[in-house]
Amino acid sequence: MTKSGLFAGCMGLALAIGFATSAFAQKTTLNVGLASADVGVLDPHMNSATTGKSFLQQIFNGLVRLKPGEISPDQIESDLAESWTSSPDGKVWTFNLRKGVQCHHNFGEFTAADAVFSLKRAATRETSTFSSDYSAFDSVEAVDPYTVKITLKNPIPSLLGVVMNYHGGQMVCKAAVEQMGNEAFRRKPVGTGPFAFNEYVPQQYGKLVAHDQYFRGKPVIREINFRLIPSDAARDLAFQAGELDMLYARQDQASFNRLKQIPGVNALAMNPAEMSVLHFNMTMPPLDNIKVRQAVAYAIDRDGIHQFRGRDVSRQSVSVVPNGYLGALADAPLLPYNLQKAKDLLAEAGHPNGITLKTIHTTLPGMMSFMEAVQAQLRRAGITLEITPVEHATFHQQIRQNLSQVVHFQAARFPVADVYLSQFFHSRAIVGTPTGVTNFSHCKVADAEIDAARSEPDKAKQITLWHEAQRKIVNEVCAVPVNESLQLWAMKDTLDLGYPIKGALNLGPGVLETSRFTK
């Protein structure tokens, strides 16, 4: 073979390898479909929207984090803090930070000063939606550049829960906020996560790019485009056309079944579930009579609703705290379905011909179909449920003005019993009061247990107190927990998130530095 022939051969081989490599080049751009036209304000301390949390979680870290794919609070692992200790009374917590963690966009190293700044910001009403989570904080200080000390006024059920990569626990970079100001920061957020903010176009997309200095390593995926597609049908079609790799699916059994049948698609029904609870306003007749409340509870066929909503995408409630939350009672004395018992109780309460209850209800289709099913069930016991449909913002205002006898509320919370019990069943949270949150029933039978559990350092005793609180609330029939709807997502099977996924506290599968496409 001549020299020129050898050269040509080598060149040909090189070109062939080049073409082959490019033909099989790994995909590095991830397209995600979110179910909203806008993710809201781009500030982790201000954004409590589902799509907002899904988008922002890639940008920020906490001092600790939930193990990816888990939602149980006993699965916490280190994040910006390598290690931590607490005093025996649970009031002083010390976090030792990693060295060399870099903020996005060259805002320097993340140190204890940033952590202190971020936690104080999260605890301030003007800059944080979640400030009340930090009401037990006495002080937060930087002991040295890599040590943060938090002192509490009293122990709280999950201190790690408020410093993790969730809500106010997401760490912002001090220099970025100070240099840009809060308003500008909310348009260009700066954190330390595996992906940095790049661009946000309302109604279209938000783009994140790989943060190559990420402390866990350079992300394999180089770019994430979050497409904002509020229409379920359009999102679905875009997924089928290959324009999306992962999407928030339509939240029903039929959609789940269909997605599971598509070759090359993984359909996920994951935690946290949103629990549908019927709250009875106990200050309004006839619901001020416990027999009437019990009658309504007996008339609800929890299994029927489970079947109606879908066996794979929902589950029956077991208590007034959702399944799987730390401290949830698995065998709460919920009243079973018994139509005769319901009718007898109504007669005993002086309503032999039945009763009429009124409810103000959101027009959101998923919630409305649930309430119509409940309406049909109650009718069989002689209970007429009059539903006044209003759009969602009006619903949220009017149910807080005590205008509805029965309130159907569907929510997921941080998975510790205290949060659900405090927000829905403690007298401090009664709607219409200055400290009101979402206690629509005016329930106050378990205040002592909820308060005692909050500051109980002994974990076993704390759980016993939460269980007791749930028994009391269930026996008082302040509310009837009915069903829990799981979050439905779908993704291509060529997308490997890098971890097995059971749930996502931030309401969307998080993309890690190890997440990648296998093809």
Binding site: T129, S131, Q203, Q204, I229, A241, H392, T394, V437
Partner: protein
């Protein structure tokens, strides 16, 4: 002409002021609290009240109105209550999308609807007339979101000619591909309107004496139809196009949602759901201005189409 324009602009300012006042009042009378929407359902009542104060929503209505008017006069429409982004920036960022969609839908509507309407009128009570009338009726009665999804299934999923997510920019090709289906979706509905109006206007004109005279003088039939009759039938067509354009700008929301395009309609619905007062006010100004401009343009086109119409 100048006096006409000045007078119309004067009316436009009065209309704008009236619309602003009505919108200001309506959004505040509606139940629903923007502070609650912004903070979500885990905030306590005191935090919600603090945000209301920060946003100035606890001020008496008159004070809020005075602040709003003072800002409006200065050209300051404030920032979105929900996202904090400037209202003008938000509205201007979606306006081109709405305008291009509307213009292309109009083009498709006019290019398809006028010839079809003329053809149906010329062939009155024949098979072609019945077919055109049936198709246009179908176009009028088909909801935009259903036709949109059918177009997507056919042309984006099955044939793969167009993208599903149509908010694409970059190259001309990408832009046209991205605009095609939504414009066709809206354009076909517009075509249905124009076809029916053109047909009835043409039928009226074709029975006029001057048409018969033109034919008797030996003017070729195509020239009679296209040069003489159509020109005289244009006024009702222009009217319907002007009216429908105004409606289209606000009502294209379903098309914007199905094809995932940004636009004024989608922004208005989002702002309404979130009780974003400042955003709604800003958008209403733009929307009112657009409708006023379209009406003005319609009046001017009347004068061009029919010299008997004086712009006085």
């Amino acid at each position: 002409m100048t006096a006409f324009l000045v007078r119309r602009l004067g009316f436009a300012l009065i209309t704008l002021f009236a619309v602003l006042t009505i919108i200001f009042l309506i959004v505040r009378i509606l139940p629903g609290d923007p502070a609650q929407v912004i903070l979500g359902d885990q905030a306590d009542a005191a935090t919600v009240a603090a945000l209301r104060t920060r946003l100035g929503l606890d001020q008496p209505l008159l004070v809020q109105y005075a602040t709003f008017l003072a800002g409006a006069v200065r050209g300051d429409w404030g920032a979105s209550l929900v996202t904090g982004r400037p209202v003008v920036q938000e509205v201007l960022s979606v306006l081109p999308w709405t305008v291009e969609l509307t213009v292309y839908a109009l083009l498709i509507g006019a290019v398809t609807g006028i010839p079809l309407g003329v053809w149906a009128a010329v062939n009155r009570n024949r098979a072609t007339d019945y077919i055109v009338r049936m198709v246009s009726l179908l176009g009028l009665s088909f909801p935009a979101f259903v036709s949109g999804i059918l177009l997507l299934i056919g042309f984006a999923i099955q044939l793969r000619w167009f993208p599903v997510i149509s908010g694409q920019r970059g190259t001309w090709n990408a832009w046209l591909q991205s605009l095609a289906l939504p414009a066709i979706n809206l354009g076909l509905i517009m075509a249905a309107y124009i076809t029916r109006v053109t047909r009835s206007a043409m039928l009226e004109v074709l029975s006029e004496d001057y048409v018969r005279t033109a034919r008797a003088k030996g003017v070729p039939w195509p020239a009679v139809v296209w040069r003489h009759a159509l020109r005289n039938a244009l006024i009702p067509i222009i009217t319907i196009v002007g009216l429908y354009l105004g409606v289209l700008i606000g009502n294209s929301v379903l098309t914007e949602i199905v094809f995932n395009r940004p636009g004024l309609g989608k922004l208005i619905v989002g702002a309404l759901n979130q009780r974003d007062y400042t955003m709604l006010q800003g958008m209403m100004v733009i929307y009112t201005l657009l409708v006023v401009l379209i009406n003005l343009a319609t009046d001017i086109v009347y004068g061009i189409a029919d010299p008997r119409v004086k712009l006085q």
